[in-house]
């Protein structure tokens, strides 16, 4: 069974439909990268998967359960599909450690000491073992995003959604975040990544989805979609962003 499945999903803001009839599935352990021009609905689609946005048509199913923002089950579901944001969205009034431990302790009600120990391990794993007591404002963008990844991991999620995780970073900080994501992929984490990092998509993704104007234009293994795109819109997009 797929971990995440979208069937004919439609989403509109008022009269304006921004996602048209999108279907795809994500299997356990799979890394799916969603690429496409800005405004193509990539982030919106991602936000629909954990119920930060509502959708109007079709169905999004996570672990066999329909995503419904009006349902009381949505909170339970969000604890299983974590999210990493473009602008990190760390809690500025809490330390790195507290940011990671917040969900497990206060939402999942896990025993505090065990959570803190695990959170320290997670921060060490993302290379921030020396920064556990730092506040977000004391960290660089790359470090903050790594804390955010540790926070997502702290929930022990079945999958992690990444919404342009490196777009708000200075160029020299992008690498450290991608390295952490790459190691997660190697360890078999299920990931859906909205990204403009074509290098990352090429090397790490199992599958690349090209979204344009809210339509899923093309999908397949990265070497096919990125090197031999079939659709003119994909070809056009890649020509514009990749240096020839």
């Amino acid at each position: 069974m797929s971990i995440i499945e979208l069937r004919n999903v439609r989403k509109s803001f008022g009269q304006h439909e921004v996602i048209h009839d999108v279907s795809f599935a994500v299997e356990k352990g799979e890394v799916v990268c969603i690429i496409g021009p800005s405004g193509s609905g990539k982030s919106t689609l991602l936000r629909c998967i954990n119920g930060l946005e509502t959708y109007q048509g079709g169905e999004i199913v996570v672990h066999g359960e329909r995503v419904d923002t009006g349902s009381s089950r949505i909170r339970q579901l969000r604890t299983r599909v974590a999210m990493v944001f473009q602008r990190f969205n760390l809690f500025p009034h809490r330390t790195a450690l507290e940011n990671v431990a917040e969900g497990p302790i206060f939402v999942k009600k896990e025993p505090r000491e065990a959570v803190l120990a695990r959170s320290r391990d997670l921060l060490t794993r993302v290379g921030l073992g020396a920064k556990i007591d730092a506040y977000p404002a004391q960290l660089s963008g790359g470090q903050q995003q790594r804390v955010a990844i540790a926070r997502a991991l702290g929930m022990n999620p079945d999958a992690i959604l990444f919404d342009e995780p490196t777009s708000a970073l200075d160029p020299e900080l992008v690498g450290e975040v991608l390295a952490v994501m790459r190691s997660l992929a190697d360890e078999g984490m299920t990931m859906v990544v909205v990204t403009h990092e074509m290098g990352f998509a090429r090397e790490v993704a199992d599958r690349v989805l090209f979204l344009d104007g809210g339509v899923l234009v093309e999908q397949g293994p990265p070497e096919e979609v990125l090197s031999r795109p079939q659709h003119p819109r994909t070809q056009d997009f890649l020509r514009r962003i990749l240096p020839s």
């Binding site: 969000r78 944001f85 809690f91 500025p92 009034h93 969900g103 206060f106």
Partner: protein
């Protein structure tokens, strides 16, 4: 000057009885206004239309009525409706209600100043509304709301003198009574002004200290 000091020695103990009532009215009204203000603010940001609308109406109506009239209403009109209160109770309740809209707006501004990304991050780890308010939004909103909250408190301290209009012998009324029986207007009203200042300055200082401490904590 020595004349002022020797007179001050005589009048101060009498004025201090007024200070006691001023403090009582201010603190009581402050607690009530804070509680009510929080309720109105939560209703406004709840996203539930009837609640938001009700809170907005209450804020507009109460804010549009002079505090003194609110006090008159509670002290003189309520008995007609079968609810008799002492002057002190009426002063605390009246000022508490009259100040609740200002408190509500201070809190709402604080809550709405918090970046939407914070709410989304909290939701994304499975938090519900109350947990998200308690753990994420309010601790940050307090920092934003603290300066206007502090100045509202100072305003309330000064406006506690309105209680005199419904016979509570707080500081300003005590001063007026004393002045009209001794004709020592200069001494007495200077003393009254100094005592108000002596109460509001530490309040302002405490507020600045709290602000500084909270800034350091991040």
């Amino acid at each position: 000057m020595s004349h002022f000091l020797s007179q001050a020695e005589t009048f101060l103990p009498i004025l201090m009885q007024g200070v006691y009532l001023t403090v009582l009215v201010t603190l009581g009204a402050f607690v009530l206004a804070t509680g009510l203000g929080l309720v109105w603010a939560f209703m406004r940001v709840s996203g539930i239309a009837p609640l938001a609308w009700t809170a907005r109406t209450i804020i507009v109506v109460v804010r549009g009525i002079p505090g003194m009239v609110t006090l008159f209403y509670i002290y003189f009109v309520m008995p007609d409706l079968g609810l008799s209160l002492t002057a002190l109770q009426a002063a605390i309740i009246g000022l508490g209600i009259a100040y609740s809209p200002y408190m509500a707006e201070v809190f709402r501004a604080g809550i709405e100043a918090i970046d939407r990304g914070q709410t989304e991050a909290a939701l994304s780890i499975g938090m519900g509304w109350s947990l998200l308010m308690r753990r994420v939004v309010l601790p940050q909103a307090i920092r934003v709301a603290l300066p206007p909250y502090g100045s509202t408190m100072v305003m309330l301290l000064k406006d506690s003198s309105l209680a005199s209009t419904i016979t509570v012998a707080e500081l300003s009324l005590q001063g007026k009574l004393l002045a009209s029986s001794t004709f020592e207007n200069t001494t007495i009203f200077t003393l009254v002004a100094l005592i108000y200042l002596a109460m509001s300055l530490p309040l302002t200082a405490f507020n600045s200290w709290l602000e500084r401490r909270m800034r350091q904590a991040r």
